[in-house]
Every structure is written in C-alpha cells, then in structure tokens.
C-alpha cells in the first residue's frame, strides 16, 4: 500500500503554531524578573568596613597588576603559558598584557637582553606608571644566563633597571613565575604610604 506523502503542516498551520507560542510567551512575560541585588541597598548601610589606607591601597594595587609587554627571548613562552587558560594569570587580576607601558605597572623581563635592545627596555620602564615593579624572570634576566660572557648580552637586567623579585630557571615554569608573582604581592602588601614618599 502506498504511503500518502502529505505535509504535516500547511503554511497556515505553521503560522498558527508560531502565533500560539508567541502568545503563550507573552502571557507569561508581563512582569520583569526581580533584581537579585535588590536586598543590597538596605543592607549595605549596615556594612561599613574599617581598614587602614595602606591596607586598602596595597590590596587594590597588588590585586590588579598590569604587566607591560617585554619578552625579548625564549622565557616569553613560559610567560605566555602562565598567562593563558591553563595557568590563568587572571586569577591574580593581571591577564591583560599592555602594549602601552603607560598603562602598565609591572614589567616581567622574560628573556635575554642585548645591549642593542637595552635602551628600549629602559625606555619602556621609564614610561611605566608609578608605582611600578619588575620581576626578573629566568637566568638571562637575573645574570645573563648562559650568555653572560657574550659580547652583546646585558649580564642581568639589574644593570639597567631596579628588580623587585628574581625568578630563577631556564626557563622558569609557569608555577615558578606565579610563585614569584605571589612574592611580589606580599612585597606590595608591606608598602606604606608613610615610607613611600621620596
């Protein structure tokens, strides 16, 4: 027996079903969803937090460091790995690497520096916003690493800029870099406005 090949819906049927769906949704959507944060307004008044200026400032500073882009050699890849999803530097509020040093307050020196490049790195550092910090990442950044006796390599970034934290390794793993960042956090936490004035 031949199966009758009928369309289940005619165009008019389809239109009617669609119309019914719209009407049903509309009927259920006459009120906006309640604001889940509505309770905040009244309770906030009863939640005043007392804290020292130092603690609040240092907390704000260390919780959102903005790294400047400065990775002249192979350590860069561990920095990039640390920055990417697996190690996730955004946990520390620092996932964005700034191409403009004026929007950055942390330099992670991930790589060998040559004397020819040194003036540019010094300039990036000079352009960064105060207060600023530097993490020397890797053997090359600390001392020139295996290239230390080369005719063209700066034997350590501390020849041209002041360093706050040294992270050894060739290259350091992302965990090591993150440990260094945590050390920098505790260093920042110890700052005080009283002693900061220069």
């Amino acid at each position: 027996m031949e199966v009758a090949r009928e369309h289940i819906y005619s165009d008019a049927d389809l239109d009617r079903v669609e119309g019914n769906q719209i009407e049903a949704l509309k009927a259920h959507s006459q009120q906006p969803f309640p604001d889940p944060d509505e309770w905040l307004d009244e309770k906030l008044e009863r939640n005043i937090l007392l804290i020292t200026v130092d603690a609040a400032l240092n907390w704000a500073r260390r919780s959102s460091l903005w790294p400047a882009i400065c990775f002249p050699a192979c350590c860069a890849f561990e920095l990039i790995a640390a920055n990417a999803s697996r190690f996730d530097l955004s946990r520390f509020g620092m996932e964005i690497l700034r191409a403009s040093p004026r929007q950055a307050d942390l330099m992670i020196t991930a790589g060998t520096l040559t004397w020819k490049m040194a003036p540019q790195v010094r300039r990036i550092y000079d352009q960064m916003a105060e207060p600023k910090w530097v993490i020397a990442m890797g053997a090359c950044a600390i001392s020139g690493g295996i290239f230390t006796s080369s005719y063209s390599v700066v034997p350590g970034y501390n020849r041209i800029i002041p360093i706050d934290v040294y992270v050894p390794g060739c290259p350091p793993r992302p965990e090591a870099l993150i440990y260094g960042i945590r050390m920098l956090h505790s260093k920042i936490a110890r700052r005080s406005l009283g002693t900061e004035a220069k």
């Binding site: 004397w115 020819k116 005719y151 063209s152």
Partner: protein, 147 residues
Amino acid sequence: MTVALSGKEIATKIEERFPGSVVKSSPDSLVVKSEFLLDVATFLKTTPDLDFDYLTAITAIDYYDRFEVVYQLTSIKHNHSLMVKTHCYGRDNLSLPSVVGLWRGADFQEREIYDLMGISFDGHPNMKRIVLWEGFEGHPLRKDYGT
C-alpha cells in the same frame, strides 16, 4: 629536487672565459680569485643554461690564515645550485667586491659579514654594521676575537 652542479664542470666553463680565475674546484664547490669574483658572478648569473638568478646565502669562515666567503647560488629557472667560494688574506682592511648589484638579497648578508667578520664589500650601497651598534669594537665572529 634542486640539482647541485659539479664545481669541477662549472670551473672548466669559467676558466674558458676568464683564464686563471679559478683557484681550485671539487665536485661540491669551486674557489675563485677575489679579483675575478664580480666577473665570475656576472657570468654565472647571465649565462644561459646557468642562469643563477637567486642568491640563497652568503657566509664567511675564519681559518686564521685566511677568510673564506661562501656564495650559495641557485637557479630557480633550471632548479640547480652551485657553491662558489673566494678567499681573503690578512686580518686588516679586508675587502671584496659586493654582489648587491647582481642579487639584492646580498645587501643584509654582506653587512652581517662586515659586522661580525670585518670584511668590507666594495660597491655596497650602505656598508655599515647591521646587528651590532655603531661604535662597537672589533668583529666578534673572528676566531681571535676577545683572546
């Protein structure tokens, strides 16, 4: 695949045209006198059947008693290649003719050889250091550098 032409065979052709220009030749390469370098290079580039229209690389080696400058030539047209060398004696005021006029690709590589080995190339439009900075003392790829 690119066919590496025999240095011996090409040397015979060069000798026919420029007698006394080839110092020695082997199946892999041939060495020409530096005063013939530009003539030989022009010959290799412009002779039909050779047509070395592409300079793959230039490099230099320090053998203490001499510098050897190596030209790796390729013909894209015929898909064959050849290694041509020349020697440069002494340690000071060394110079060779530049081949930038024949192959533009020689520009940066001749500057690099000047920078690191201290061989200057006559006729180069911009003969100055390329990787190191102006004012750097010496040529660090020389074997006696820093000793």
